[in-house]
Symmetry: C2
Subunit: 386 residues, 2 copies
């Protein structure tokens, strides 16, 4: 009997009450019943995004939400700045290039954070830059960038700041309005605790002004169409195109859980999960790849120990011990593994994961002291909210 | 106690076994387990599409699939032909215009079919036309166009033929390969019996040749990226971006039901549902808006009788009798109502719908003979497969 623990940074575990909500008979999306639900979802998204801005939603993966920012804010030939330190930072660059933008890319090594001062210098050097695209939580490395400092570096420049917070939203705090982040993109399948298939995008007034002038071709991801749906005649709010109804129903249930927990407790829990995970990994003699600080609350990235083959380790953990981790991507493929703990996770998941890691390392002949990781994690969990 | 019957052309009713499949704990999409499931889904999609071509899938509503056809087949300035006789035909025109294409639009009145000979004449007159965009099943009117004749009209011309079969796929037959339809777009929330949130696109060799040369900007809906995912290293097949995992799991269950029934029975059932629905409506003295022929197997559109207010009729049917119909769109808003019967529907749904219609019309003071519609429907159902 194998009990399965999905410990990847998306998809993430889905609360049973959310799964059951999505299993109810489907409802039609052009009805007062749906609009009432969608209005509540939109209010709760604003709460999690910490914004007064509208949060638009799209039936797409997170990349669709990122693409929407590029095509709605920019016109062909516009100059933009991308700061990339991982696979998802590079996606901003690829998107900018696909849409014919002039893209300056500040690249940092995988595992490094983005340098806010570098962004400020680039903007000083070229005040014509239309938008700055950054990654909040770089899922490929576990690094969470300092969005407050990046926001401060961009504020005062004419450029808008756009953040991919797909794996950060709801686990690593981002204060959208307070930190002056004009556009924040989130996805459904991370800390928002529902399956993949939806993207969310908050848009500031500064960003709307650009969207109203943008000349990039677009249709499905057109923000103006999405905004119109929010305020069209009854029943409202609605979306321009058929929404992913069952996911929206699930999201309503998931956001209720978040409101019940409260943002302060939510972020405190994730910080504890990160601390416990890192303490345990270090106690096993493994080396962290993601930074050892409280911002690393979504994903813990760990260097694969010398003499261990990453694929064998993760397959053993999954097939024998039921715990699924993620591997490395891009240049760190095979060199790191990643433990996702953004979303529906508490101390039990970390304890099981670390136990499975101890057992698997032992089985592969890597020296570990049984229980050493657990002991370190328990110290963190004692008296915590996780 | 109200039992709810969703009789709209998308979302449609979802089989309970599909709902339960989607309620299982989620799995990760970069695993052999997912790829095995996705490979089976792709095979079964080819079966329903009646094609040997690859069927690409996207996490988006059907409109996203339509947009993918426009941006992958065409380059800015290309000339295309759109034949439109309803809201969704017009969407092709709007998409073509959004992407800077030169668009000739053959427009027909709502409720009329598209004229295949007219398409042939336009292609003869302008052999430089890159693509022809048509609607197979026009959800807004209930008209199902003669795709075989349209295919024959386009074949032999250099243009590719693109069909929006979102509400037709799996209920109104389209023989993709035999009828030379280069690109067929389908959606998840109609006869494929799962919630909204996925689009499917089959692509012929002739269409791939265009896709490889297309210069329209694109990223999320890039067919070449999607094709690469189907053949990348293990685990394969996969998608370029995170798929809507729970919907794919549901689709696997839904397509199993379709394979079990068999395409021949599937289409025969839908033809009977359409016949019975039309016979019942006529027996109540109401006037059909959609054509009274066997191709009308997805949606039955009915003129709102003189003296009855459409909104009141549908609200009464929904809130008192539990049966939800769809209203008219565009120029026929308020003038027709639509009964969707594409997907998980059999005789019971039609009988309940017609009964609710009889009761509601009576309550609104419209003369109906109780049971007259049911009697007409029963005659059709006797000995049928529906």
């Amino acid at each position: 009997m194998i009990k399965k623990f999905l410990m990847t940074p998306g998809p993430t575990q889905i609360p049973p009450q959310v799964l059951l909500a999505m299993a109810r008979p489907i409802i039609h999306h052009r009805t007062a019943e749906y609009s009432e639900l969608f209005a509540r979802v939109n209010d709760n998204l604003k709460y999690v995004f910490q914004t007064k801005n509208e949060v638009l939603s799209f039936a797409s993966s997170g990349t669709g939400g990122m693409e929407s920012a590029v095509v709605n804010l920019c016109s062909p030939g516009d100059r933009v700045l991308v700061a990339a330190a991982g696979k998802f930072g590079e996606r901003w660059r690829d998107l900018a290039q696909a849409y014919g933008l002039g893209c300056e890319c500040l690249e940092y090594e995988y595992g490094q954070p983005v340098d806010p001062a570098g962004i400020g210098r680039s903007l000083d050097a070229d005040p014509g830059i239309r938008a700055v695209f950054v990654t909040h939580s770089e899922t490929s490395t576990g690094v969470v960038n300092d969005m407050q400092a990046i926001g401060a570096a961009v504020a005062g420049h004419p450029a808008v700041l756009v953040s991919d917070s797909i794996s950060g939203m709801g686990s690593a705090e981002i204060r959208t309005d307070e930190w002056s982040v004009d556009v924040v993109v989130a996805g459904s399948q991370k800390a928002l605790m529902i399956p993949p298939g939806m993207a969310f995008v908050s848009v500031s007034e500064k960003a709307w002004a650009l969207a109203e002038r943008s000349k990039s071709p677009k249709f499905y991801f057109d923000w103006l169409k999405a905004r119109k749906g929010l305020s069209q005649p009854q029943p409202q709010p609605t979306t321009a195109f058929t929404p992913a109804v069952s996911l929206v129903v699930g999201l309503d249930a998931a956001l209720s859980l978040i409101r019940e927990e409260g943002l302060e407790n939510l972020f405190a829990r994730h910080i504890v999960l990160g601390r416990a995970c890192r303490a345990a990994v270090k106690a096993l003699g493994l080396e962290l790849f993601s930074p050892d600080g409280d911002r690393s609350s979504s994903v813990t990235a760990v260097r694969v120990p010398e003499g261990i083959e990453d694929g064998r380790l993760r397959t053993l953990m999954r097939d024998k011990f039921g715990v699924q981790l993620a591997g490395g991507q891009g240049p760190v493929k095979g060199r790191i593994f990643r433990i996702g703990h953004c979303g529906y996770y508490n101390y039990t998941d970390i304890i099981v994961t670390i136990t499975a890691l101890e057992l698997a390392l032992k089985e592969l002949g890597h020296p570990v002291e049984p229980g050493a990781g657990i002991a370190a994690a328990e110290k963190i969990f004692a008296g915590s909210l996780a």
